[in-house]
């Protein structure tokens, strides 16, 4: 540990591992440490032993659940959008060679007390119970408008200015019913609340196009998922980093972030060793998250909380056509909330649990002091729940850019159902650390001799 590094990275969550990989490829000398003896931090996938150690330390996993090693239970319920930014990073860095992906079989939306499939083909759309006949015609016109939109061709704009007009104006132009708006804004544009309606329509347009192009890519849903769980993602980027010279240390207690008299980063102390570097990147848990500031600086603040319930089921979710995996979105309006409730389910098809077990995670942004009651509408969709592990996680965000002190802190994993905001965080931290925008280059994989 007596060497000096360019960058020390603390925590092996996906955000930190992507950064570590990208910085190593750029030629930086990286030391990557984690206090846990496993990869993934808050975005890890755990086997049963690790899951019980985390949630029920006094209890051993029941043997009836099967072999420990068959399990990889995600702590954060997220899927990869097929045409999204994470996919681009995976392809450009070629970590795809370490991974194998499967589709998520279906996407569903809750409306008027029951769930319906988000149509993935025109045939499904015609048969869908989500809209009446006339509404279907109006929706068709709306989607044709979006698909045909060309910035440089005013004839395709039908009098709408995406950068100035808000989404409400667009919905009204096509006469879409509130239920259809719910479906479009929440199940397709994947907004968690309704704030987008009164904002310019451009970002919503972008999100709907991302959704439909992702849906068209593999057919069943807009999502893909790595075999053996999301925890494979940080591992694959950690390997990329290691191949480019990154040094890895798991199971390493981090006792102190050492700074100089001006508060600038100097090094990291673990026990009686201190290792020095020019810059440090880390997840909020290494920078006082959840603790009172001890005379020092408050480096992260809580933005809100997410409640997540990991549910083990012995059957597929009712009403999902026995899908081996799915997402169900409960738009906030449907259950009188401000934020949507999400259900994300995967199963043995994805090598994350024993055969005939289904793992569903129900989550939402906490709005009251009884978070577990808030997710009840989601839990009620699951049928009998064999076992349930509930956690309430604060979402932390850094208080400074790191420009002054060379301390660069990442954000906690939010309540969105995908990784797009994780990539935004990666791009943001990358720019703050290097001073340059993240440009994805295809890397050379030939052996250097």
């Amino acid at each position: 540990m007596d060497e000096e590094y360019d960058v020390i990275v603390l925590g092996t969550g996906l955000t930190e591992c992507i950064l570590s990989g990208l910085l190593s490829v750029e030629g930086k000398k990286v030391l990557h440490m984690d206090r846990n003896d496993y990869y993934g931090g808050d975005s890890a996938s755990l086997n049963l032993t690790q899951l019980y150690r985390k949630f029920r330390p006094d209890q051993a996993p029941p043997t009836e659940l099967g072999r420990d090693r068959d399990y990889a239970i995600d702590l954060v319920p997220k899927f990869i959008i097929a045409s999204g930014e994470l996919t681009k990073i995976l392809v450009h860095t070629e970590v795809t060679r370490y991974l194998e992906f499967k589709q998520i079989a279906g996407s569903f939306v809750y409306r008027d007390g029951k769930i319906s499939k988000v149509p993935s083909t025109e045939m499904e759309a015609v048969k869908s119970s989500l809209m009446g006949l006339f509404e279907k015609r109006r929706a068709k016109k709306f989607f044709e408008f979006l698909q045909n939109w060309k910035d440089e061709d005013p004839a395709t704009h039908q009098g709408i200015n995406l950068d100035r007009d808000n989404m409400k104006t667009v919905y009204e132009k096509f006469g879409l019913e509130p239920g259809t708006q719910d479906f479009i804004g929440h199940a397709m544009a994947l907004y968690l609340d309704d704030d987008y309606i009164t904002k310019p329509a451009r970002p919503t347009y972008d999100r709907i196009i991302l959704y439909t192009s992702s849906m068209a890519r593999y057919g069943k849903s807009p999502y893909i998922y790595p075999l053996y769980g999301l925890g494979e993602l940080p591992q694959s980027f950690a390997r990329l980093s290691a191949i480019y010279g990154g040094t890895y240390m798991l199971d390493k207690p981090i006792d102190e972030i050492v700074t100089d008299a001006d508060g600038k980063f100097v090094g990291v102390r673990s026990g009686d060793e201190t290792v020095k570097a020019k810059q440090i990147i880390g997840d909020p848990s290494y920078f006082g998250a959840g603790k009172e500031a001890e005379g020092g600086k408050m480096r992260v603040v809580e933005e809100g909380k997410v409640v997540r319930a990991i549910c083990l089921l012995k059957h597929p979710i009712p009403g999902t056509e026995d899908s081996d995996s799915c997402q169900i979105i409960i738009p906030q309006n449907q259950v009188n909330r401000r934020n949507d409730i999400y259900v994300a389910m995967v199963s043995s098809t994805h090598n994350v649990c024993a055969k005939d077990i289904y793992v569903a995670i129900v989550s939402t942004i906490v709005e009251t002091d009884k978070p577990e009651l808030e997710i009840a509408p989601g839990l009620n969709l699951l049928g009998p729940i064999h076992d349930k592990f509930v956690s309430i996680s604060p979402i932390y965000t850094p208080t400074s850019t790191g420009k002054e002190d060379d301390i660069f802190i990442t954000r906690s994993y939010d309540a969105t159902s995908h990784f797009e905001t994780v990539v935004e965080d990666v791009q943001d931290v990358f720019k703050r650390v290097t001073g340059n925008d993240l440009v994805l280059k295809k890397r050379d994989v030939e052996v250097q001799t």
């Binding site: 370490y98 992906f101 929706a139 989607f143 979006l146 057919g219 694959s236 390493k252 001799t449």
Partner: protein
């Protein structure tokens, strides 16, 4: 008719026993006396042709230094069909380390994995600390293959990989065997991310 099989091979062993050099000799028939720790070379392939003209393609995973502080990811062991655990015949401690790695493999890897224990650096015979008898006895007790090599001279290198290829179960393509899905090109069962957008599925991008 000749058949082609593809297997994932992982290398294990203490730092500086010559894991990367062994692969470099096997794959490129090269040796570098002052080789730095593994950088940028952790995924190589090499094909071995057997007597019956069938070919075995090894997809070789090097540790990329992640073994140094016991930080190898579970991904490394996942679906490995065979492992070469390397020790340095001039360092007694490296055989002890090899034993630890073999225990780790027995714990983490698929039970059907073929493991070869490999004593490297036979070109340094004068400085030998680990006797052939000792290593061989241990390998026999644990049911491992065993051989000695010199990545520097090339002695025994081709032989050990060929011996592994012969020992692997060639009854079915690896991708068809449960728990051993190959990740090689052409053997994938999942979706291909690199595929051009819209190449699959002819439906309109619009859902309605």
């Amino acid at each position: 008719m000749s058949k082609q099989y593809q297997f994932k091979l992982v290398l294990l062993g203490e730092s500086a026993v010559g894991k990367s050099s062994l692969v470099l000799r096997f794959v490129k028939d090269q040796f570098d006396d002052y080789r730095e720790s593994t950088i940028g070379a952790a995924f190589l392939t090499q094909t071995v042709t057997l007597d019956d003209q069938s070919t075995v393609k090894f997809e070789i995973w090097d540790t990329a230094g992640q073994e140094r502080y016991k930080s190898l990811a579970p991904m490394y062991y996942r679906n490995a069909n065979c492992a070469v655990v390397v020790y340095d015949i001039t360092q007694t401690a490296s055989l002890e380390k090899a034993r630890t790695w073999i225990r780790e493999l027995q714990r983490q890897a698929d039970p059907s994995i073929v493991i070869a224990l490999c004593g490297n650096k036979t070109d340094l015979e004068a400085r030998r600390q680990v006797s052939q008898e000792e290593a061989k006895k241990y390998a026999e007790e644990e049911g491992l293959m065993w051989a000695e090599t010199s990545a520097k001279s090339g002695e025994g290198v081709q032989e050990i990989f060929t011996a592994i290829a012969k020992k692997l179960p060639l009854t079915a393509p690896p991708s068809a065997r449960p728990g051993a899905a190959s990740r090689g090109p052409g053997a994938r069962t999942g979706v291909d991310l690199s595929k051009q957008q819209g190449a699959q599925g002819q439906q309109e991008p619009c859902n309605c």
